[in-house]
């Protein structure tokens, strides 16, 4: 093992949270900062060659190499966990920028009561309404406290949006740029939702509606609606990515080094203090001593590294959540939609049935979901083949004729729902399977419970109401939610495992991301979220990182 020269801060993970933390800390002081990224450098100028559905959307060319490392999964403890041999349900990122390079750019803020879900639910409905076995708890911060950081994060990325949505929290400033243009499908969804008295609003978007210069002087162009966002890097850089938003600033800082191909295996501690990290690069092992360690390597790896390093405690690994994504409908229209055009956040959203935006006194579940009209660009391998319900064939001439006719006249209404935590959903180390280095894989024990199934059914009924108001020839409702599976893509919004809170006995880090026991260790990212709101988490990850940086102690 090679001992490297000591630095002030070592940051594990070169994605949104790690690189933002590096940028913030580098601006504050002359601290020597090293960012360790296990993947490769990225050249966004080459993203234009990556507009290839097969390699990028189906073979996951930008994702974590599953052959080297995966996680194991089981629905419940009485099963044996088996490895996820091909990613499906979620897609971990890899390389500089991480999953922030190939996201869709949807950037809503969380609803205000999300941060105090336990308190507000109990106050309004009583403790007995918290589902059996659930472990809902408050974040230790309020919407009011995080709001200025939300605004700062929006200004950093140039978020395009339309203020005034009565179903979302108050804003202390405008969106930096106006909303994206609307697709035909979005207009049909908007018209139907308005007719029903709902409040459709454009999804806040990190794909810019117009050219924007951020407070760091970084300029990005407007979105071209090419339809290659999710699973792709942006060909023009209109989508905010760590490589086009943070890297240009970091590259000017002489006190920041980004080391790629550096896979951290352990955080080393002595007498309850972190002394640095051990990483492997090209088969060689290095010890990087550091005065402070920031762990920012995405939900699953944050939890795994704490466990592998023996820094786990009774709270590490708990409150594992995903998102309730299945409620939806496939719509068949008379008229063409030109749905190859679009962007990752060209969708209208209705939040009237999200969170506690509607009264839950007369229903038998808590929380909800937002409904949306995605227009990501209908790439053909994944989207060809849907046919109206009266066509039973799935191959052959009859099916082909119907599928060709339906291809550009089909769209999907979707939703994203909250997932509350349960003691039965958690992460620990797998006793059997290992990664390419021989370290135990992380084991997920995860299943849906009644509350999620009820949200799913309720939101499905609302989606059906909207579908009936749209000029459709027919529609097919998605099936009811059953057990959690690892094949169908939901989102990459796994959360929990290193949750934040104001009480050390029920959380892993404090509300500024600082580890309760190892005080010179910080943990950033959605692994710190005690439960899973419906909203896409990246903007909150950025706001939380900015909050942690602003509270960073001088010594």
């Amino acid at each position: 093992m090679t001992n490297l020269a000591a630095v002030d801060v070592v940051i594990i993970g070169g994605g949104w949270s790690g690189m933002l933390m590096a940028k913030e800390l580098a601006a504050k002081s002359s601290s020597r900062i090293v960012v360790l990224e296990r993947g490769k450098p990225r050249n966004p100028k080459e993203y234009i060659e990556g507009m290839d559905e097969l390699d990028y959307a189906l073979r996951y060319r930008m994702m974590q190499d599953v052959a080297k490392e995966t996680v194991t999964f089981r629905n419940e403890v009485k099963q044996k966990a088996l490895p996820i041999r091909q990613f499906g349900s979620f897609l971990p990122g890899d390389g500089v920028g991480g999953a922030g390079e190939h996201w869709n750019g949807m950037t809503p803020r969380f609803l205000p009561d999300v941060f105090e879900m336990h308190k507000t639910t109990v106050e309004k409905y009583g403790k007995k309404r918290l589902p059996a076995g659930s472990t809902v708890q408050d974040w230790g911060i309020t919407y009011k406290e995080i709001e200025p950081y939300y605004l700062k994060a929006e200004q950093l990325l140039g978020i395009s949006g339309l203020a005034g949505n009565p179903m979302t929290g108050p804003r202390s400033g405008p969106f930096p740029t106006p909303p994206l243009k609307q697709t035909y499908f979005g207009k049909l969804f908007t018209d139907a939702s308005l007719a029903l008295g709902y409040h459709p609003y454009p999804a806040p978007s990190a794909n810019l509606s117009q050219s924007y210069r951020n407070p760091d002087g970084v300029i990005r162009p407007a979105c071209q609606y090419c339809g290659f966002c999710e699973r792709f890097g942006c060909m023009v850089g209109a989508k905010a990515q760590p490589t086009n938003t943070l890297l240009p600033v970091l590259q000017k800082r002489s006190n920041v080094t980004i080391t790629t191909s550096a896979q951290v295996r352990r955080i080393v501690t002595k007498d309850g203090v972190a002394t640095g990290v051990v990483y492997v690069s090209n088969g060689k092992e290095f010890f990087q001593p550091a005065a402070r360690v920031v762990l920012a390597s995405w939900t699953l790896n944050n939890t795994r590294l704490l466990l592998l390093s023996g820094i786990g405690n009774a709270n590490t690994g708990r409150n594992l959540t995903h998102q309730v994504m299945g409620a939806g409908a496939t719509l068949f229209f008379d008229r063409p939609l030109n749905r190859y055009m679009g962007s990752g956040s060209s969708n209208m959203t209705v939040s009237d049935f999200d969170g506690d935006n509607f009264d839950h006194s007369q229903v038998d579940f808590i929380r909800g979901a937002y409904i949306s009209s995605p227009a990501y660009g209908a790439r053909p391998i994944a989207n060809f083949g849907a046919v109206p319900g009266d066509v039973k064939a799935t191959w052959g001439s009859e099916w082909k004729k119907a599928a060709v006719a339906a291809y550009d006249r089909t769209a999907r209404l979707g939703s994203s729902g909250e997932h509350i935590p349960y003691s039965s959903n958690f992460m620990d180390l797998d006793p059997t399977y290992t990664d390419i280095l021989g370290d135990p894989l992380l084991r997920l024990t995860l299943d849906w419970n009644e509350n999620e199934m009820k949200i799913h059914n309720f939101i499905s009924s609302k989606i059906e109401t909207i579908a009936k108001r749209m000029p459709v020839k027919s529609y097919t409702m998605s099936p009811a939610l059953k057990r959690y599976d690892v094949m169908s893509y939901k989102s990459t919004h796994l959360q929990g495992g290193t949750i934040m809170g104001s009480d050390p006995s029920s959380s892993v880090v404090d509300p500024r991301g600082r580890h309760w026991q190892v005080r010179n260790l910080w943990v950033l990212g959605a692994s710190t979220f005690p439960q899973n709101p419906s909203g896409n988490p990246t903007l909150t990850v950025l706001a939380q990182t900015l909050m942690a940086a602003s509270a960073w102690p001088d010594r």
Partner: protein, 218 residues
């Protein structure tokens, strides 16, 4: 191991344009048929696959199908490359049967799955279309058939650099333009009206060769 050369026979004309781009020799039979060298399948296997995918996505009144788009060649290349040997899958032991929710846990690589299952479809190529449909209907609920159907869609609609979607025929069939640079002036126009442009591959758009992943991975 030296492999005897195997070929997929294609009807005269048509095929030359795309397949000669590889720099691989194309042989013409006395009858004018074009023989494309195969990388994984034997000639017999390729004939079975060609028959099957041509029934899954037929050439008919609706337009071109798997045959014109080169689906068999696409599958042959994928199986010969890293995908075929499971480069993109976690393949550590032990392999154990799991629940449906835990996903595919089999040990077989895509190459092995094809090699095994094509044996049970021996003779398919010489049957009538109706008889071919019957044979396929008998296996349509198997994992192999689902894989074959998925690969057919991939071969119909992938970028032509992968060997399928020849001349962007699959994209033209459904009106997918390929990776166009900008729809910023079109996204909020043409509401409810078809807007079509000529389909183009990424190499055509950029006017340079783009190398697919299967050619980069050892």
């Amino acid at each position: 191991m030296v492999r005897r050369r195997h070929f997929l026979k294609l009807p005269p004309g048509g095929a030359l344009l795309v397949y000669s781009l590889d720099g691989e020799p194309l042989l013409q039979t006395p009858a004018g048929e074009v023989q494309v060298p195969l990388r994984f399948f034997t000639s017999d296997e390729a004939a079975i696959v060609e028959a099957a995918v041509s029934r899954i996505f037929p050439s008919d009144d609706t337009g071109p199908g798997a045959k014109e788009c080169g689906v068999t060649l696409y599958i042959d290349r994928q199986l010969a490359g890293p995908y075929g040997r499971d480069r993109y899958r976690y393949t550590k032991e032990p392999f154990e049967a799991g629940s449906a929710e835990q996903g595919y846990q089999g040990k077989s690589t895509p190459r092995e799955i094809y090699r095994t299952n094509l044996k049970s479809l021996a003779g398919l190529a010489s049957l009538s279309e109706a008889e071919q449909d019957n044979r396929l209907r008998a296996i349509e609920n198997t994992a192999f058939f689902r894989l074959l159907r998925q690969h057919t869609l991939e071969g119909m609609f992938c970028d032509p650099m992968h060997g399928g979607n020849r001349d962007c025929l699959g994209w033209q069939l459904i009106g997918f333009p390929g990776p166009y640079m900008s729809w910023a002036n079109d996204i909020d126009r043409h509401y409810g009206e078809t807007h079509r442009v000529k389909s183009q591959s990424i190499s055509q758009i950029l006017n340079r060769k783009v190398v697919p992943w299967e050619e980069l991975e050892p």
